[in-house]
């Protein structure tokens, strides 16, 4: 059988809900979609996730499932969210011996799918289960629709049933015809009306059932035709029911249509109108009778038909109006034509009311025009007499009776009544009659209706008027009434009533005797008027008057009002404080007052004069008066008097008032003084002060400005500021000054102004914008003439420039000095070295030594000066290179060892740092610092010792801080000098220089070098006892492989081979030294005395390299190099060029490289340095050098490098010796080295034994001598760890210091141990 293999991806695509079981019933694979349902883990058991709902199994195992591949399985997923069942089947896969389940989850609706977050893509494309659920859903939706539809239909059926009941139960006969006109159905009313049963009717036509002998055949025909046409109709017909008694029927017919407008049925409704018809007939007859009767009574009769809008009038009535009947009835709208236009609306309104069914009859009056144009008044009575079959009013009839006479009388009555009513209504008071009876009682007999209007009370209410009288008026009123009663005099009274809703009402009443009623009672007729308004107005006026008086009294001025004859009308209390006097004065003339107060006549006269002046001029007069107060002080009063003119133009009164202006006067004086002070400030100020407007036009200037600019104030004011500044700066004036000050409110700066004489001035200004309400903004400016200051500053700048130039010159001088001194020095030292190689007598050797020392000292001084210069100018640069710390230290201390010995002092050295320490930093500067300190220490120590201690205070994997102390037992430094010892050119004492020499720069340089490298230095000293310098320096820790080759000494200078070198150098001595060195290496050398010759020679001969001096006559090295680099021949142009420079200022290096040089060497140079630089550019010649390498390279060297491990493993330490010095001495000759080592080895074992012996026996003197003898060997063999110890042993033993010192024995033990290790190491390197 062909088999198809599917991989898991394919299974997953086809059956995304599949899973695969192995024989252990573990799930080994499953589909992505199944994964979504239950969080499965591969390797877990079937039982962990599934329960088989069907089929039933007693035991579920692989074999059971394998044998059930023909069954349908329902698997419930235990770990699913909610209840999820997989429906599917198992299949056994032969090739892998596994069971696969394929199927889908069984969902009953879409909501379940959505709940599981399963989407359509999770189902295989062939899987229709989701679609089936969709179809199901669609069906559900359709069912929902059907339900809605059903509901709608049943609702409509119910409606229809209601209609059917109505049709069945109506009192009118209903007939349903089919579309052929045959009766299909009749209702109950039809059956009752006509006596037929439903069965009798069905199938018949209505005509055949209900026609009789008097039935109008045309009507019947009309009905039948309408039925046939399926159109609506309405008519009346005489029907004959079964009992033969005909009745009138009103018949309505209409077709019944379906929704497509097809006729379904024809429906007829019949109403029995026999009674109605006879009633109408009866009315008509009655009408005729009534009309006749009415006309007989002289009334015109009319009839109006609403349907036709026609009116009919009785003969008599027509005659009454003067028309013919024809004329009236032919009028288009008769009522409009004959009615008075003002009255037409009356009948329109009635027509409307009839039409609406509001009235059934009416009665009204209006005017009708007769044919002759005159109007008569008629009374119109009418009533509705018939309606249409729809109940709409159809006919009204009525009568018109001529009431013109009556109406005229009525109108004139109405008119007079109107007039009376108007009179009464408009009367502003209440008319009344008051009666005094014989028995003494009194009261109102009549009260006019207007009381309602006046008091809001009805007349009856006011009869008992006493309760309305204000309590305060009661007695007064009673008195007045009593008086009138007694005297019969007219009664006049004003008082208050308390009236509900109005409160207090003022009234005035007056009455007088009118008549005697004949019964002894006297009747007074009177009028009562409401005067509340008037009273209130008076009150308001009084209040106002008091208010003004109060105001006038409170004004802090004296005020008096006079009439035109100078009489006082009013005086306020400020003018006259005495109340009594003030009262007295009213009405008096001013003269009276003056007389009363005994004022001088002159005052009277003066005031009178002013008063008259006001009266005559009718204008205000003002003046000031000076008065002397009671305490003698002066008071100033400002007075004025002005007329009040009435409407006739005459002076009504004169008002005078005065103000005490003493304070104001004082303030004005103060202001005047202040103003003067400010003006003085302005005028006498040295500052230049001005104001200008928004456009820069000057408003004011102070004299300083005039003086400074040479103009008068008149020449300046009114002119723009701009015209006083140089013309080419005018453009800037607005942008940089005017706009800014106007916008920001202030501006300051310097501007140039022009003096009248044309001189330019510099003005420093600070200007402000002044904005005050009601004033145009203006700018106030303050400035200062700084012309001289500006000039001074310029001079200062010039001076600074000169200083800088001088400084630059100094720098150049120093650089030149360095060159000028170093070049001859190079010569001196070089020649001295060469001289040393020649045969010399002792004296010559001594002289030569002196020469070298002096030259070296001079070089130190030059170097110190240069260092200081570099430090102060910030040009100092530090190397950052790897170096062997111990080597550098050793060589430094070594060089002083002999010096110390010469002076007979000890130089001890202790280091706590392990040997092979590689540091990153500037080794030259470290040596410079140490040398300086050691030099000083040895220089200033005559006896005792100098001790160097080295240790580290901080160390991690990358960094170390190395600390050094250099301690001496020398002369020490005075405490007062300690603080300045590090300053340049300072020495401990003035005679130091004389005694010890030196520049005084050394310590300053040290301090700077240390601090510039991030370290620090300090000093402790006791005068006469010695000095300790302590310094520390931070370094990075390096590794051996970082050390450059050039750090090592060259083994063979001939390695490069025979090369042609051109030396471009003008100084013969230098030429000589370079030539000697190079030729000793086997080179061929040519010399050019300047750059120009060098360039020429390069083009003529072949050279491998050029050593180029920088400073040469004719053409310097830089120019020569530039020319060579531009040569056409590329070989020549590329020739290596090394600069030789005595210029020690490092900053020039870039110039050499810029010119195209390859490297540089500073003079004086060592042989090693020259070799190391040259070897970079000259390739080694293998033929020339190979055999020599074999010979020259010592075997020990190879061993050291290759068997280092072996050596050290034997002793457990690093290599304890260093043969550098031996090799240098022997110029690398292996025989010499071997011989030296052999001698050392021969002697060493014996020395170790002796050392131990002397120590054991405490023979310290012998030990000291032995140590002294061993010392050169230890140093020569480079046993650094013992260098200091052996000295310690020598000195301490000699001084017998150590007799009781166990420490000494330890030192001896350590020395012996080390020597034994060296012995082993050397014997390995130099086997015999």
């Amino acid at each position: 059988m062909q088999s198809i293999h599917l991989n898991i991806k394919q299974w997953n695509r086809l059956f995304p809900f599949f899973f695969l079981l192995n024989e252990e019933m573990q799930i080994v694979a499953l589909g992505d979609s199944l994964e979504k349902l239950g969080h499965f883990q591969l390797g877990k058991k079937f039982d962990d996730y599934f329960v088989i709902s069907r089929p039933k199994f007693s035991n579920i195992g692989f074999s059971e499932l394998k044998s059930s591949i023909d069954k349908m399985f329902f698997l419930e997923i235990k770990t699913a969210k909610g209840h999820v069942v997989l429906r599917g089947q198992f299949e056994f896969l032969e090739d892998v011996q596994q069971l696969i389940f394929v199927g889908s989850p069984w969902f009953t609706n879409l909501e379940e799918v959505a709940d599981q977050a399963i989407v359509q893509k999770d189902f295989a494309k062939h899987d229709a289960s989701l679609d089936l659920l969709h179809v199901l859903h669609a069906k559900e939706m359709a069912e929902e629709d059907n339900k809605v539809l059903l509901h709608q239909i049943s609702k409509e059926r119910n409606n229809f049933r209601h209609f059917a009941i109505v049709a069945e139960e109506t009192v009118n006969a209903g007939i349903l015809l089919d579309n052929t006109g045959k009766i299909q159905w009749v209702n109950r009313a039809f059956q009752q009306m006509n006596g037929y049963q439903l069965e009798d009717c069905i199938g018949n036509s209505i005509g055949s059932l209900l026609t009789g002998k008097e039935t109008n055949p045309q009507t019947l025909q009309f009905i039948e035709s309408k039925i046939k046409e399926n159109s609506f109709f309405e008519c009346e017909i005489l029907n004959y029911p079964l009992n033969g008694n005909p009745y009138w029927a009103k018949v309505n017919g209409q077709p019944i249509l379906d929704e497509n407008a097809e006729v379904l049925h024809y429906f007829i409704l019949q109403e029995d109108v026999t009674d109605k018809k006879s009633a109408v007939e009866k009315i008509r007859m009655a009408e005729d009778r009534w009309r006749f009767a009415l006309e007989g009574a002289g009334a015109g009769v009319w009839e109006h038909d609403f349907e036709t809008n026609k009116s009919f009038f009785s003969e008599l009535y027509v005659n009454l109006l003067g028309y013919t009947k024809q004329e009236l009835e032919n009028m288009d709208d008769v009522w409009k034509s004959i009615l008075h236009p003002e009255d037409y609306h009356i009948i329109k309104e009635y027509d409307h009311q009839y039409a609406e069914g509001i009235i059934k009859q009416h009665k009204t009056e209006y005017r009708i025009k007769k044919k002759d144009g005159t109007y008569i008044w008629v009374m119109d009575r009418g009533m509705l007499i018939s309606k249409t079959s729809f109940g709409i009013p159809k006919t009204i009839i009525g009568t018109h009776t001529d009431i013109t006479d009556l109406k005229l009388v009525e109108l004139s009555l109405e008119q007079s009544e109107k007039q009376l009513r108007s009179l009464s209504d408009n009367m502003p008071g209440v008319l009344y009659e008051y009666v005094f009876n014989e028995n003494g009682e009194s009261g109102f007999k009549f009260i006019g209706k207007t009381i309602e209007k006046v008091l809001g009370l009805c007349a009856e209410e006011f009869l008992d008027f006493k309760k309305s009288v204000h309590p305060d008026d009661q007695n007064r009123l009673l008195e007045a009434v009593k008086h009138t009663n007694l005297t019969n005099e007219p009664f006049n009274f004003e008082g208050r009533l308390i009236v509900p809703n109005r409160g207090i009402v003022w009234y005035s009443t007056s009455s007088s005797f009118s008549y005697d009623d004949g019964n002894g009672s006297r009747v007074f007729t009177g009028l009562m008027i409401d005067i509340t308004e008037k009273k209130l107005a008076q009150e308001r006026l009084e209040k106002q008057r008091m208010f003004y008086e109060q105001v006038l009294n409170s004004i802090p001025s004296d005020i008096a009002v006079f009439d035109h004859e100078h009489r006082y009308l009013f005086i306020n209390p400020i003018a006259i404080k005495d109340n009594e006097l003030r009262q007295w004065m009213i009405g008096k003339k001013d003269e009276d007052y003056c007389q009363y107060k005994n004022k001088p006549f002159s005052i009277v006269e003066g005031r009178r004069k002013i008063f008259n002046q006001v009266i005559e001029s009718k204008k205000l007069v003002a003046w000031e008066e000076t008065l002397t107060a009671a305490n003698g002080s002066k008071e100033f009063h400002f007075r004025n008097m002005y007329p009040v003119i009435n409407s006739l133009g005459n002076v009504e009164m004169v008002i005078g008032y005065g103000v005490n202006i003493t304070d104001r006067k004082r303030i004005e004086d103060q202001v005047r003084i202040n103003e003067k002070r400010y003006r003085d400030l302005f005028n006498y100020s040295q500052a230049l002060i001005c104001t200008h407007d928004q456009n820069g036009v000057l408003l004011s200037v102070n004299p300083s400005i005039c003086e400074t600019l040479g103009y008068t104030a008149e020449e300046l004011i009114g002119r723009p500021l701009m015209s006083f500044i140089p013309e080419r700066e005018n453009d800037n004036f607005r942008a940089y000054y005017l706009d800014i000050v106007m916008k920001e409110g202030k501006s300051k700066g310097v501007f140039r102004a022009l003096h009248k004489n044309g001189k330019k001035l510099f003005l420093l200004y600070q200007n402000y914008l002044v904005e005050e309400e009601g004033l145009e903004p203006y700018v106030i400016g303050f400035s200062q003439d700084i012309t001289e200051r500006i000039h001074a500053e310029n001079e200062l700048l010039l001076a600074k420039q000169i200083t800088e130039n001088v400084s630059k010159a100094k720098e150049i001088f120093l650089a030149n000095m360095s060159h000028e001194i170093r070049t001859p020095m190079n010569g001196i030292l070089g020649v001295a070295n060469l001289l040393a190689k020649t045969e010399m007598g002792e004296a010559q050797k001594n002289y030569l030594k002196l020469i070298k020392e002096s030259a070296n000292n001079l070089l130190v001084i030059v170097n110190d000066v240069l260092d200081i210069e570099k430090i102060t100018s910030g040009k100092f640069e530090f190397e950052q290179i790897p170096f062997r710390f111990a080597d550098k230290l050793n060589s430094s201390i070594q060089s002083f060892q002999y010096k110390a010995e010469e002076k007979g002092i000890q130089l001890n050295y202790f280091s706590q740092l392990e040997e092979p320490l590689i540091l990153l930093g500037d080794p030259y500067r470290l040596i410079q610092i140490l040398n300086n300190l050691l030099n000083n220490a040895i220089k200033f120590t005559a006896r005792g010792k100098v001790t160097v201690n080295i240790f580290s205070s901080m160390r991690d994997e990358e960094n170390i801080v190395v600390e050094f102390t250099v301690q001496d037992t020398g002369i020490g430094i005075d405490g007062s000098k300690l603080e300045t010892i590090f300053e340049p050119f300072v020495q401990a004492s003035t005679d130091t220089t004389r005694k010890f020499g030196g520049t005084g720069l050394g310590l300053s340089i040290c301090k700077n070098l240390i601090e510039m490298q991030g370290g620090s230095i300090s000093v402790e000293s006791k005068y006469g006892e010695g000095t300790v310098f302590h310094f520390k320096l931070p370094y990075k820790i390096g590794a051996t492989d970082m050390l450059a080759q050039e750090d090592q000494a060259p083994e063979d200078y001939s390695l490069i081979g025979e090369k042609r070198i051109l030396i471009a150098e003008d100084v013969e001595l230098n030429q000589f030294i370079a030539r000697q060195i190079l030729e000793s290496w086997g080179m061929e050398v040519a010399v050019a005395a300047n750059g120009k010759i060098a360039v020429e020679m390069v083009q003529k001969q072949h050279f491998d390299l050029i050593l180029m001096d920088i400073q040469m006559p004719e053409m310097d090295g830089i120019e020569a190099t530039e020319i060579i680099r531009k040569l056409d021949d590329p070989k020549l142009a590329k020739i290596p060029i090394i600069a030789l420079t005595a210029n020690a200022l490092k900053g020039d290096n870039h110039l050499y490289f810029q010119a195209g040089m390859n490297d540089y060497i500073t003079k004086p140079y060592t042989e090693e340095k020259l070799y190391s630089v040259l070897s970079k550019f000259l390739p080694a010649n293998p033929l020339a050098t190979l055999p020599k390498v074999e010979v020259n390279k010592p075997a020990s060297r190879i061993l050291v490098e290759e068997d280092h491990e072996l050596l050290t493993s034997q002793t457990g330490d690093g290599l304890l010796y260093d043969l550098t010095m031996v090799r240098q001495i022997g110029k690398g000759n292996p025989d010499f080295i071997g011989k030296m080592v052999a001698l050392f080895l021969d002697q060493l074992p014996n020395d170790i034994v002796k050392l131990k012996e002397y120590a054991d026996k405490d023979e310290w003197e012998a030990l000291s001598k032995l140590a002294h003898r061993m010392k050169p060997s230890i140093e020569g063999m480079g046993i650094h760890s013992l260098k200091t110890i052996i000295r310690e042993l020598e000195t301490r033993s000699r001084n017998n210091e150590s007799i009781r010192d166990v420490e000494m024995k330890k030192l001896v033990a350590f020395t012996c141990e080390t020597m034994e290790k060296v012995l082993i190491q050397l014997r390995i390197e130099f086997p015999k």
């Binding site: 609706n109 879409l110 977050a117 359509q120 969709h134 939706m141 629709d145 709608q152």
Partner: protein
Amino acid sequence: MYGIINTSIEELVIEKFGAPTWEEILIKSGIKKQIFLSSEAYDDAITYQLASSTADVVGVSIGDVLLEFGKWWILHTCQKRYGSMLKTGGGDLAEFLIGLPSFHSRVQLMYPKLSPPEFKVEKLKDQYFKVHYYSKRPALQEFMRGLLLGLATYFKVNATVQLLQSREQGFEYEIFEISWN
């Protein structure tokens, strides 16, 4: 088209403008008041007539009516009547769009009288798709745009939809571009 479309238009109009407006639209369109059966096919002309009368009565363009109707269809009609179908269509907008062609193939099977449109969907970036729309019916681009915007709202993203080409411009079918962030 199936009656549910017409019912949905009716619901949209009544919700937004009230029942009297719907009556007016029916009168204007000359379509009798009736219950549209969801799963009964009605003449397309009815739907077009309803849309155009709605535009007339409400005073907007037919395009606007169709656009609003598209959104309404997703956010009201579908969510109310076919909520679960929407949910099983995809978990987010991208998934839904990718499933769109297959979804409509299924719809075609379920509603044989429907002649639903066909889609081809190009995924350009995670949130940037081109939807190729093949329909026998003319002038429903705005409806389609409304549907896409409605879907975006349904999946709570802010999308922009652009019509890149259309039959009106002489192409054979429409291409919409939908992107969101």
